[in-house]
């Protein structure tokens, strides 16, 4: 499995997927940087970091997962590489499993970058306007915990987007699904029913009601893992005509 995973990572070399992994958290950091510069008074670290996490969960994470899964799938769909890959003497489940792990790794990396780049943006802004230095403590454990919970709650969304992107050679079904899911996640962010919607589960990690956090985490993480395993099994078994 490690050799297949290393092959998947090598395929990312000079690819758009790697660029996207840097661009998405970078955009949040850029927004935070300019937002800090327009402030009149210093704000607490919590405000900057939790807001960045919220931006990540509500919009950037679903959109990035949509684009990332589509790009990773298109690395094979584009040059019609599936036949060549699937003809190799390897269990096909390992090929799809490695792809899924690769996507999860990239989303995990982006989650880390959201935190790191946001911290960097605030620190850089303070270099220009020292009077805006954030107040309070930088609770790294809390911010990292939120991002980890968002990652876990996003598993169901990742599994659905992953299966759709791998199953259909065209970009359209995966993009339509992802854009649609993100649209409802944004316009109905506070709706109670949103806790059952895969694209809205990550942002529910910031909810004040614990049942929403627990439900979204349980469904997104638990069911998500199951759906991801089933997706890999189905993709490995189906014929690519």
């Amino acid at each position: 499995m490690l050799s297949v995973l290393s092959v998947e990572v090598r395929k990312l070399n000079r690819s758009l997927a790697l660029l996207l992994a840097l661009a998405a958290p970078g955009l949040i950091a850029l927004f935070v940087f300019f937002n800090l510069l327009r402030q009149k008074a210093p704000q607490p670290w919590d405000m900057w970091m939790v807001n960045a996490n919220a931006m990540w969960a509500i919009f950037m994470l679903p959109m990035t997962v949509t684009a990332m899964t589509a790009l990773v799938a298109h690395m094979e769909h584009g040059p019609r590489a599936w036949d060549q890959l699937r003809a190799l003497p390897r269990a096909r489940s390992s090929l799809y499993g490695a792809k899924a792990l690769c996507v999860l790794g990239l989303v995990g990396l982006m989650s880390v970058l959201v935190m790191g780049m946001t911290w960097g943006a605030v620190t850089a802004g303070v270099q220009i306007k020292p009077e805006l230095a954030p107040t309070g403590v930088f609770a790294a454990g809390k911010y990292a915990g939120q991002l980890a919970a968002m990652f876990a709650a996003g598993l169901l969304m990742i599994a659905i987007q992953f299966w759709t992107a791998m199953r259909f050679a065209s970009f359209v079904p995966a993009l339509a699904l992802g854009i649609g899911g993100t649209f409802f996640a944004v316009v109905a962010a506070s709706a109670k029913q949103g806790v059952f919607m895969p694209w809205q589960m990550p942002v529910n990690m910031l909810a004040t009601e614990s049942w929403r956090v627990q439900t979204a985490l349980g469904l997104g993480g638990g069911l998500g893992l199951l759906v991801l395993i089933l997706a890999v099994a189905h993709l490995a078994r189906r014929e690519v005509l």
Binding site: S3, V4, S6, V7, R10, K11, N13, R14, S15, M75, E76, P79, R80, A81, W82, D83, Q84, L85, R86, A87, L88, P89, R90, A91, E239, V240, L241
Partner: protein, 311 residues
Amino acid sequence: MVRMIETERLTRRFGARTAVEAVSMTVPDQAVYGFLGRNGAGKTTTLKMLLGLIRPTAGTARVGGVDVGRDRIGAARKVGALLEAHGFYGNLTGRENLDLSRRLLGLPPSEIDRVLAVVEMRADAGRRVAGYSLGMRQRLGLARAMLGAPPVLVLDEPTNGLDPDGIAEMRGFLRGLPGRTGATVLLSSHLLGEIEQIATHVGVIHQGRLVLEGELAALKAAEASEITLRVDDPQRAAAVLRRWDLTLVEGADGMIARLWPGQDHDQVAAGLNRALVEQGVRVFAFGARERSLEGLYRQVTENTQSLPEAA
């Protein structure tokens, strides 16, 4: 005879459409087997079943003695494939692309230089594949198929899209492949002329059925003789020749009289010539037509086509 590829009544249906029907083919060890058929005849579907990419509706396929249906991975270890869609990653170099397959096959790094040397691609291996010509991609695909020196190579339309020089180069390369590597080569094509110059054995698939198979030299030797004629009045000539037990076909350069297998070519030719002259038909050209794969192909595909009409 060691059979490196063998199928038994291999069948594949897509819904109501039968793409491949009861194909039983045999590819001997170290043969260059030309798998012929027009586009849509069932060549690629058959190759995909041999590679375990799609499951047969019925029948079995064995590669290197391993049943593809029972042990796909075991059969895949015996075969290297060049498919119509190359499946290269344009953002990576030729060498990096080969390295991906090498890692998946669990081969040592030295294997890359070996196969690059075979296809004479070492100088260009450091360039990104996105900048490769089609011919270079074909050669890189061949290099990838040869990773690990598999005993069987399956090549789907290896001359597709190549310019005349590229085709000539590929022809020379494929012809010498069994001698150099000991591999058995199964190559599909719809280019009869190319197959005739490369293959030692042929199989013709038509409308999903294998209508001809065998050693090319033996098939050509057994082919019915043909006589080409160029006359002043083809209609009158046809009326004269209809009395003879043969088939008349309009060719590009005149008429073609196709004899039945076993008929004495010289005797029939002398008789035809005499009859035409006696009936006042002016004969400008008269000669034996060279036995060709195209002739064989036409015979078997036309016969197959005429069957439903006759029924």
